[in-house]
């Protein structure tokens, strides 16, 4: 299970148990991903129009959060809701981007493909954020958080101790968190 998956699932599990702070953390964490997906599909839209769609997706996540089962992965659930609402929004505003979305029925039945597409867009978003870190810090995050390589192996490749690796990872994650928050504003 990837780090994001377990993190998001943990927050959502706590949220469904009534923990509002965990729910806010979850929503804050997914919002930049949603923005990335909406931006990728509606580049010609104004920022305000894209943000409206992001808010619609957030509202749908909120309204349908009881449909996520804790024994199932959260990302396919999240991306399915996102896909559904993004298609809906583009169809409604009649934006030409809707044309590129293809036939809705086709996309609905091909949930795996869509989830992969959404995941790729999310990965692009993450990559854009990583581009704002220094190259070594970005590589540490990619190796440990995205490729899930062993800390020992990564430390050896970079010729640093595991302790130093942990410190640099921590700093990189803090910086990423700051970047994410800045994007939220």
């Amino acid at each position: 299970m990837s780090d994001t998956e377990s993190l998001w699932a943990g927050w959502m599990q706590a949220a469904n148990g009534g923990d509002g702070q965990a729910y806010a953390r979850f929503l804050h964490a997914v919002t930049p991903v949603l923005r990335g997906i909406v931006r990728a599909r509606g580049a010609a839209l104004s920022e305000a129009a894209r943000e409206d769609i992001v808010q619609e997706v957030l509202l749908a996540i909120h309204a349908k959060r009881h449909t996520w089962s804790e024994d199932r992965p959260i990302r396919p659930w999240l991306f399915a809701i996102t896909r559904h609402k993004v298609i809906d929004a583009f169809r409604r505003i009649g934006h030409e981007a809707a044309q590129t979305l293809g036939d809705e029925a086709e996309m609905v039945v091909d949930a795996g493909h869509e989830a992969a597409l959404a995941a790729r867009e999310a990965a692009e978003e993450v990559e854009a954020m990583l581009g704002q870190l220094d190259p070594e810090a970005a590589e540490i995050v990619r190796a440990l958080k995205l490729r899930e390589e062993s800390p020992a192996g990564v430390a050896e490749q970079l010729s640093i101790s595991e302790g130093t690796l942990r410190v640099r990872l921590h700093r990189a994650m803090k910086k990423l968190e700051g970047l994410g928050r800045r994007e939220l504003r």
């Binding site: 949220a15 469904n16 148990g17 009534g18 509002g20 702070q21 729910y23 806010a24 929503l27 804050h28 919002t31 943000e51 992001v54 808010q55 957030l58 509202l59 749908a60 909120h62 309204a63 349908k64 959060r65 009881h66 449909t67 089962s69 199932r72 396919p76 659930w77 991306f79 399915a80 809701i81 559904h84 029925a105 609905v108 039945v109 091909d110 949930a111 795996g112 989830a115 939220l184 504003r185």
Partner: protein, 211 residues
């Protein structure tokens, strides 16, 4: 409202009760069984029901709608998840449809042409199709109310499945009363009644499943 405010507001809302799919299925089963049980209590089952069911064709009159009921209910429950794949469960529904078609062809081959529509009297048609339509109303309303709490990736399909499950459940119960054992009769009229409810649900309940 900016996104930060929206998130803060949503985070402050109470957590909803999780979707209990077992309870949803139980509620729907009750909505199918209660009208059918009342109907059978008032009208009674057909004379010699158990002996009649030993005839495979008569047994299929009950088993095929029962199979359609089980498969459509399973698909309906599956489609309460937004990430569910809609096409696979629908393919399974071709099984009872093809079997029904096979029965119809068999009747066409084995019965003389006059026998194909021998039981097509207004009384039998109204009794059969009318009973299935009436017995479908309550379960279709209940199915729409409870399954629309889900997040179907294909709201129109879910609405149609709610109608299909309701009408095939009703037809299963009604078949225990029905004495028309000619497949040319029951496949056609059961099928028409089930298709009518399915189409009506797809048209009128779709909006309830939309989100």
């Amino acid at each position: 409202m900016n996104t930060e405010e929206l998130i803060a507001r949503m985070a402050g809302a109470p957590a909803p009760a999780p979707l209990n799919r077992g309870r949803m299925a139980a509620q729907f089963l009750a909505a199918v069984l209660v009208p059918v049980a009342l109907f059978l209590l008032l009208a009674g089952t057909r004379p010699g029901l158990m002996a009649a069911l030993e005839n495979p064709v008569v047994a299929l009159k009950t088993l095929l709608p029962a199979l359609a009921f089980g498969l459509s209910l399973a698909a309906l429950m599956r489609l309460t998840r937004p990430e569910a794949e809609a096409r696979a469960p629908l393919r399974l529904l071709a099984l009872p449809a093809l079997a029904a078609l096979g029965l119809l062809v068999l009747a066409g081959v084995t019965l003389p042409p006059a026998g194909w529509i021998a039981e097509y009297t207004p009384f039998f048609i109204v009794e059969c199709a009318g009973s299935i339509l009436v017995l479908s109303i309550a379960p279709a309303l209940v199915a729409t109310r409870i399954f629309a709490r889900g997040a179907s990736p294909a709201p129109g399909v879910s609405a149609a499945l709610a109608g299909l499950a309701s009408a095939s459940g009703a037809a299963t119960g009604y078949s225990l009363f029905c004495t028309q054992d000619n497949p040319a009769f029951f496949v056609f009229w059961y099928g028409l009644a089930i298709a009518t409810v399915t189409l009506a649900a797809a048209l009128f309940a779709r909006r309830r499943f939309a989100w």
